[in-house]
């Protein structure tokens, strides 16, 4: 075992033990604890849990790497995945918390109709499953590099730990474990970032100091024949950048595993403050990521530029084993770098570097000591596991609460409800392990799908359901279906899924950005159909009125 592996093992074992211990302390005996953590989570802790739930393996492992290769256009992820919290805080969180039940489909079921509830439950399950597969695969990458065990074994260990704390603790166990996972994740992200920033500029605040290297990076990129790093719209046309950013924002606000976290606060007021804390915690990582991307890109290019193939730095060799870094056979010295495997295979670049290794390899590339490298491994796993747990809870609650007890067993006892929910979660874990080990071909497009679907189905009808009393069931059903069909057709048209042929983008609009237009389609159809049909019942309109006010007026109590 190398020193790095020993440290990785130590950190991973310690943190896993911590998660299991916390879950044991917060095990639950009734459904309110299982689904919404007894609605008793303080705003700051809930904010940390939202942040851990939200920041997935993709945020921790891939995002900085993506930004490093996209340059200025990488900001679609930065703005898209944070701006959604403004929408969530202002348009959804307080109202859904006031109405306060267990799941997102339950709200639309009460507000519109049982049909809408069932459709939403199925969409929630699909969105969450596509997402959870990515988390499982992400965990596998970390394990296979640092512990040098097969990816399947890594996925199984991570799943066993998630299973233990999610099944026994439900939302309550997940919440407190996520608080711990957020802490592990952010420490693991910030320490190497501070160290790299300090080593390169003498200022240990990466958010400030990466400005100092941008000019140098622009110049170096030019020597490699790449676009300037800070030049906008090199990766996508302006229209597409706009649409993708918007789709990621409204998709974020429409994702069931994010929304459901605002059901667990103590009060309506708590949900507003919780949204603030969530964004503060997320921003710590999201404002650091572009700096990590820029520093690592500079280090990387600088380290390999013009080097003979047998004189490349050690990290190149370490990562070659995973297949995520490769050196061209024809190259004698390195003069070009790509993150695109097809381009590399065509012989157009001397060195291939996959996006996903940049954060994990950043301490190695910068020559930091082994314990830090091990810490980063534990952080990557915390990111993957916290998100996977949150998603599994959405799947479990949709299956048991929105489908099974609605249609099969309407009069189940509390103990039985809890038992069925645990079994549903257990099965979901098994399915997730299977797909984590044998990822279906479409995993690369998972992000586009999950966000596009959430943006074009949930978000518009949730907002209209809260802000427009006149919206009715007929409108919501047709709006959701129109958004779903429109968005998924364009995705299938432009992507290679289930063997379909890939077509050119229309007006340069990518499948990641189409969710924005899908949301507009949903919005327009919902409004038009609602206006053409009868208004919702008086009771429903009164319910919408009620969720607008956090509590009864004081004098009615007096």
């Amino acid at each position: 075992m190398t020193e790095t592996q020993v440290w990785a093992l130590v950190f991973v074992a310690l943190t896993f033990a911590l998660y299991i211990y916390i879950a044991w302390r917060s095990r639950v005996k009734e459904t309110k604890g299982f689904f919404v953590a007894e609605q008793n989570v303080p705003a700051v802790a809930n904010g940390a849990a939202v942040a851990a739930d939200w920041m997935s393996a993709a945020s921790f492992i891939s995002m900085a790497g993506l930004i490093a290769f996209l340059g200025s256009d990488g900001s679609i992820y930065l703005m898209g995945w944070t701006g959604g919290y403004v929408l969530l805080a202002l348009l959804l969180a307080p109202y859904l918390r006031k109405w306060g039940k267990f799941t997102v489909p339950e709200f639309v079921g009460d507000r519109f109709s049982e049909t809408v509830r069932s459709v939403s439950a199925v969409v929630a399950i699909i969105v969450s499953f596509t997402y959870v597969v990515g988390q499982m695969a992400g965990g596998g990458i970390v394990f296979s590099r640092f512990l040098e065990i097969p990816q399947a074994g890594g996925v199984a260990i991570a799943a066993a730990v998630i299973f233990t704390y999610a099944v026994f603790g439900g939302m309550k166990g997940i919440t407190w474990t996520q608080v711990a996972q957020y802490t592990v994740m952010i420490v693991a992200y910030l320490i190497p970032a501070w160290a790299v920033a300090h080593a390169m500029t003498g200022i240990p605040i990466p958010q400030v100091s990466f400005g100092r290297i941008l000019e140098e990076l622009n110049a170096l990129q030019a020597e490699f024949g790449l676009d300037q790093y800070t030049q906008a719209f090199t990766a996508r046309p302006q229209l597409d950048v706009f649409l993708v950013t918007m789709a990621l924002m409204i998709g974020t606000a429409g994702l069931p595993h994010v929304i459901i976290r605002f059901y667990t606060t103590k009060s309506v007021r708590g949900s507003r403050w919780s949204a603030l804390w969530a964004l503060v915690f997320i921003a710590l990582l999201y404002t650091t990521a572009p700096a990590v991307g820029a520093f690592t890109k500079l280090n990387l290019l600088d380290g390999v530029q013009g080097k003979a193939v047998d004189a490349l730095p050690q990290w190149v060799q370490n990562w070659q084993a995973t297949g995520l870094v490769a050196v061209s056979e024809n190259a004698e010295t390195v003069n070009s770098v790509t993150n695109n495997a097809d381009e590399f295979a065509a012989g157009n670049a001397d060195l291939l570097v996959n996006n996903d290794i940049l954060v994990l390899a950043s301490p190695e590339i910068a020559g930091l000591p082994a314990p830090i490298v091990g810490l980063v491994a534990a952080g990557g796993l915390a990111a993957a596991m916290s998100t996977a747990a949150g998603l599994l809870l959405v799947i479990s609650s949709s299956v048991s609460h929105d489908l099974y007890f609605r249609y099969v067993d309407h009069h189940a006892s509390e103990a039985r409800r809890l038992g069925v929910s645990r079994i549903a979660m257990g099965l979901a874990v098994l399915v997730a392990i299977y797909f984590g080990i044998n990822p279906p071909a479409f995993v690369a497009q998972v992000v586009a799908f999950a966000f596009g679907l959430a943006a074009s189905t949930f978000f518009p009808i949730l907002v209209l359901g809260i802000f427009w009393k006149r919206a009715n069931a007929a409108g919501a059903v047709s709006g959701m279906l129109a958004g779903l069909v429109f968005t998924s057709s364009y995705m299938i048209y432009t992507l290679e899924v289930f063997g379909t042929e890939k077509h050119e983008h229309i007006f340069g609009i990518s499948p990641e950005g189409i969710g924005t237009l899908g949301a507009v389609v949903n919005l327009v159809v919902t409004i038009v159909v609602s206006m053409a049909t009868r208004p919702p019942s008086h009771e429903v309109q009164e319910m919408v009125e009620q969720i607008r006010y956090p509590s009864e007026r004081e004098e009615t109590h007096a």
């Binding site: 703005m79 302006q238 607008r548």
Partner: protein, 108 residues
């Protein structure tokens, strides 16, 4: 900020106003929300995407300004927007007597 803000326009409106207070509370809520969303759009989509190239002509501390808004500034702005929303809504709740009695997570 203390709890006894009984300024002329503050304090619960007269009881005989019926549902009038509800309309007023909701209108103020919507006005705040729209104002914050305008800033949200202007900073992220405006500075970070629509006018990013023009702003990039200005360089501060090594950052082209449009690039800075896209990768840093908009995120800081989002935090401030939610902070302003949470504080103003706390105040509005209290003004209309619909605030909750816990002091969970707020600054007051």
């Amino acid at each position: 900020m203390s709890d006894d803000v009984m300024t002329p326009e503050g304090g619960p409106p007269p009881a005989d106003a019926g549902n009038g207070w509800r309309k007023e509370y909701w209108r103020k809520n919507l006005r705040l929300m729209v104002a914050l969303l305008i800033v949200w759009f202007a900073v992220s989509f405006g500075c970070g995407i629509l006018f990013v190239e023009q702003l990039n002509q200005v360089v501060i501390a090594g950052f082209p300004l449009g690039f800075w808004f896209a990768q840093q500034g908009s995120i800081y702005t989002f935090i401030v927007l939610i902070l302003v929303y949470a504080i103003r809504m706390d105040r509005l709740d209290r003004e209309y007597g619909v605030h909750e009695r816990d002091h969970d997570g707020g600054l007051t």
